[in-house]
Amino acid sequence: MEQNNSLPPFQGIVLPSVKGAMTPGMPIFSPMMPYGSGLTPQPVTNTNSLSLLEEQQRQQQQQASSQQAGVPGGLGQTPQLYHSQTVTTTTLPGNTPLYTATPLTPMTPITPATPASESSGIVPQLQNIVSTVNLGCKLDLKTIALRARNAEYNPKAKMWAHSSYKACCFGSENQSRLAARKYARVVQKLGFPAKFLDFKIQNMVGSCDVKFPIRLEGLVLTHQQFSSYEPELFPGLIYRMIKPRIVLLIFVSGKVVLTGAKVRGEIYEAFENIYPILKGFRKTT
């Protein structure tokens, strides 16, 4: 089993049998990871607190060792998290059942219970929600535009109708559903047989601030697989997280914009995932 800090081979897994401490806060994340099999980047935890994550890692480690004695090729079938964690020292004697994963099932995504020392107190604020609803009938836009008034709704949620069937609505969450209902009501009152079908949120956008400047060049070097940083094109780094499927725009100032979520939890999860990584690339001056 590899014990070095260097990047693991292509299919290889960095088995967390390293006893020594890794660079604190610096996740070793292999850029060689096959595109698309990457899972959420995991932070390095130096703490001895055994989180759920570490338990599961140990399970995989045991499973891995039971499979193949750590040959990287053999582990290629069960995609595992790249965790270079200093996992430790204390092996849980026998209370972790072997994780039976068939070679073809990807490992269930782990949502780690963040160890207490790593949790960021920051919660991303949702800025915008885009959703669609099917009104089930043809809409005559001209009539609606002339006769409907938007002022009576929550001004933060506005609606916009396609000429047939669907309507999109922008605004904040929970209000968007309400706004959609109200709009359907208005349309109904105008005489169209509107129904409220398939309300679905398509996109949610959130933003937050990590309160420290970030070294984008370092981030793009280590996370080449996911990042795209072209100062000529856009001043922020575009980070495409695979799990959950979220796109983050990360700026030098420390502001982060998250988008592409279907549910609120994805935004929070993505931020919790990225926060430790960003801490590792904090600017020191």
Binding site: Y35, P213, E217, V220, L221, Q224, S228, Y229, E230, P231, E232, L233, P235, F251, V252, S253, K283, T285
Partner: protein, 318 residues
């Protein structure tokens, strides 16, 4: 002059003079005969001459080598087509009574590759405009071929993909060109080239190194006509500015331009912001912004052995 009667195997029938079996036959190229030198008997006739048709001297007219038939093959890129094309006739006989050429078949030789060949031509044209060497052109062609075969970007304009490939090739060779420089030689907008660039990187699953200020110094400075000392000073200034994080979030091009401005203003060859902006492709307000950020620490940023024409405190303050 070797007699062809000595074949490789002994099974070949030996051509020999019946009267003088040991005599070495002489080949007469012009007549195609094999003649016995002893008695003059013509032993073999109609010998096919496989030598070259005409003499070639390699020194003169190297472009027109008569012993070559056809264009140089480009097997890496084309899949080696050996088709024949009928060219336009030149004499009077090739036109019929209305003035149309008689033989009109100039059919496409390989329609699948036609678009690719057009793109190669376009790439060469673009690269010529900015004097890019052959190795970058070859790399661009290879990239284009890979992208084209993958077909993942099939809907995009070939010119856009070609421009993006050119950009990537320059970057991969370690001599990046700014997007604006590529725009200048291409008909595609910067936005579209940027989009294609990202798509290609994803399709080919490669990545490129981040640009640095030093990559552009030699080109910008020589275009401005600045001497080597100023160029070296500007390189040093830009590097220090980035190391000391005086310009967070600024594009490396803008920082480079500001550094060149500072270095040139401190030397005898002063250039205006507008001139530098024209060469670098940045607006002069952008240079002003970055200059304001590095101005406070100007004294630290200059290299120690720099000869000041204008001392640091007299540098323009914008």
């Amino acid at each position: 002059m070797a007699s062809t009667s000595r074949g490789d195997g002994l099974t070949l029938p030996k051509v020999q003079c019946p009267n003088h079996p040991d005599a070495m036959l002489v080949e007469d190229y012009r007549a195609g005969d094999m003649i016995c030198p002893e008695c003059g008997l013509v032993v073999g006739d109609r010998v096919i001459d496989v030598g070259s048709e005409w003499r070639t001297f390699t020194n003169e007219k190297a472009t027109k080598d008569p012993s070559r038939v056809g264009d140089a093959q480009n097997p890496l890129l084309n899949g080696g087509d050996l088709t024949t094309m009928i060219s336009k006739g030149t004499g009077a006989a090739s036109f019929d009574e209305f003035g149309n050429s008689k033989y009109q078949n100039r059919r496409t030789m390989s329609s699948s590759d036609r678009a690719m060949l057009n793109a190669f031509k376009e790439i060469t044209t673009m690269a010529d405009r900015i004097n890019l060497p052959r190795n970058i052109i070859d790399r661009t062609n290879n990239l284009f071929k890979q992208v084209y075969e993958q077909k993942s970007l099939k809907g995009r304009a070939n010119d856009a993909i070609a421009s993006a490939c050119l950009y990537i090739a320059c970057r991969q060779e370690g001599v990046p060109r700014t997007f604006k420089e590529i725009c200048a030689v291409s008909r595609i907008s910067k936005k579209e080239i940027g989009r294609c660039f990202k798509l290609i990187l994803k399709a080919l699953e490669t990545s490129v190194d981040l640009i640095t200020t030093g990559d552009f110094m030699s080109r910008f400075c020589s275009n401005l006509g600045l001497p080597k000392q100023v160029q070296m000073a500007a390189t040093y200034i830009a590097r220090k500015a980035v190391e000391q994080d005086l310009v967070p979030g600024r594009s490396p091009i803008s920082v480079a331009a500001a550094a060149i401005y500072m270095a040139s203003q401190a030397s005898a060859e002063k250039k205006t912001q507008k001139e530098i902006g024209d060469i670098a492709g940045v607006a002069d307000v952008t240079i002003r912004q970055s200059y304001r950020l590095i101005y406070p620490r100007a004294a630290d940023l200059f290299p120690p052995d720099f000869k000041f024409d204008t001392p640091v405190d007299k540098l323009p303050q914008l």
